[in-house]
């Protein structure tokens, strides 16, 4: 297989834009990625698009926005990891010599559903009748509140430690012009915001919003013709849950542990080599548990890791410099590629005030949904190197 690289990364500012059509959002992100890559849209040979709730054939519609027609177009749904699935297929198509230049795009317009009178994101994420646990009263914040409550019982983790994740990510987001929210909050403000699912307060839950992101993928060899700063894809792992595995052993998401181990092995790096991580902090609890599952710290020490500032600037590894899903936002289908865009930009050294110094190795962690049953649906870990 050929080595694969990213030569262009672009995204639009995330936020609430019910009247900004999904195709136009995706097209604007794709245009930005193509401009950074310095190649004409007509060089693109295939488009892979992640989305869960907007019109069918979105990849084709995104192509239309940048003036491309008649190429293979693929549409991927994998809940919150939809565009990570799209990216992985894009990588495989280049690695296996099927294509030389492809686009991976993530798009989601969630607020247009609210404008039509539908209840926020609920029906999008956990459709009625699809999952007995959801029909029984399980909610997305509930899933992570249950994980957090167990983590507290096993390891003595505190609500304040979970809240500190939100404080850190809000602080990071203040320097990210692409973030949905760019506002700093104190620990007290996070803890005193409305309780959603104990111990998760509102400011520890990602917002409903809209956004799009795109990357241009090519072979490592061709990449050198287009840029002096190619970002190489060292590992792109996508796996699904093993039935009941997360229910056994300490509080964790087994699918993440397994995907991360595979990614580290493939990339030939370990967690200690990472400079920058964009991690699936849909709720503060998930970030703290993922520190452990990704091996950034030992199991049970996530609370201490955030407490000591190890996941912020000046710590062991900068986690979610973008502000993460909590503050940059989580337009579902956009998230996977948006995480990659942020990490690629750090490796290119173009992040301005929020630049992680000397970033050479980065990781993205993107989980998606449920299945079979209540097992984690998808888990994507991507490792990139400069």
């Amino acid at each position: 297989m050929r080595e694969v690289a990213i030569i262009g990364a672009g995204m639009i500012k995330f936020g609430k834009n019910p009247q900004y059509p999904a195709a136009a959002m995706g097209g604007d992100a794709a245009k930005a990625a193509l401009e950074q890559a310095g190649i004409k849209p007509t060089r693109i040979e295939a488009t892979f698009c992640g989305n869960i709730g907007n019109p069918p054939n979105l990849a084709q519609r995104v192509n239309g926005e940048v003036g491309v027609t008649g190429i293979p177009a693929f549409n991927h749904e994998n809940a919150c990891a939809s565009s990570s699935a799209a990216f992985r297929q894009a990588v495989l198509s280049v690695a296996n010599d099927v294509h030389d230049y492809v686009l991976a795009v993530g798009v989601e317009n969630m607020t247009s559903h609210i404008e039509m009178g539908f209840a926020s994101a609920g029906p999008l994420v956990l459709p009625h009748g699809a999952n007995i646990e959801a029909d029984n009263g399980m909610l997305m914040p509930g899933v992570f509140a249950l994980l957090g409550s167990r983590h507290m019982a096993e390891f003595g983790t505190t609500p304040e430690q979970f809240a500190k994740v939100a404080v850190k990510n809000h602080k990071h987001s203040a320097l990210n012009p692409y973030a949905h929210y760019q506002k700093v909050f104190t620990l007290e403000e996070v803890l005193e915001s409305r309780m959603v699912c104990d111990p998760l307060t509102l400011l520890q839950c990602c917002p409903i919003g809209d956004g799009a992101a795109a990357v241009v993928v090519t072979s490592a060899e061709k990449a050198k013709k287009h840029t002096t700063k190619p970002v190489f894809v060292a590992a792109s792992v996508l796996t699904s849950g093993l039935y009941k595995e997360s229910a056994e052993g300490p509080a964790r998401i087994e699918t993440c542990v397994r995907a991360a181990n595979e990614a580290y092995e493939t990339a030939g790096v370990g967690p200690e080599d990472l400079n920058v991580v964009e991690l699936h902090d849909c709720f503060s609890i998930h970030e703290l548990v993922a520190y452990e599952d990704l091996g950034l710290c030992p199991k049970g020490e996530g609370g201490r890791f955030i407490e000591e500032g190890q996941s912020g600037y000046g710590g062991k590894v900068v986690v979610n410099p973008s502000g993460g899903l909590l503050c940059k936002g989580h337009p579902i289908g956009a998230t996977g590629v948006a995480q990659l865009v942020e990490v690629v930009w750090h490796l290119q050294g173009v992040c301005g005030e929020r630049q992680v110094p000397d970033a050479k190795v980065g990781l993205t962690h993107n989980g998606g949904g449920f299945g079979p049953g209540n097992s984690p649906g998808a888990m994507s870990i991507t490792i990139v190197k400069s």
């Binding site: 029909d135 029984n136 009263g137 509140a145 249950l146 167990r150 019982a153 039935y243 229910a247 079979p372």
Partner: protein, 160 residues
Amino acid sequence: MKIENGELTLEPGERTIRPDIFVKVAGDETPHLLARQCQDCGDISFPPFRYCLKCNSEAETTEKVLSNDGVLASYTIARQVMPGFNPDYILANVRLKDDPSLVLVAQLTDIKVEDVEIDMELTMVPKIIKMLMNGEKVVSYCFRPKDPAKVSLGEGGQIE
């Protein structure tokens, strides 16, 4: 909804969360949950799966009546809920006695929040947990304390 001699009878306008999940067990006052079990490795699934997802045996699983007993692995209070539910129900992970690798997501019932303790013993009881947009009431499996001293009938946020 009526429960008599371990049999669940629905009133007009009521349905269970899934068809055929409650069964009568002779001599028991409470209905039981109907799961499935792998004939090769013994793994129990609920909701029931036709094939074993644990050992991937090619043989179809068979019906297995659960004991209904479990322990509380984790809980939260759902303050902001989906349409049709009463807010502030206690959402729980319940680890079943029949198969400790089987953790159900269910609501606690007949208990005050202040009495909830991780690792407490629980037992299943059917309750109406929500009303759908079409007015239908949904009966599902909830869990209450095994210890009668900790039972507070009517507490827990279910509809009935």
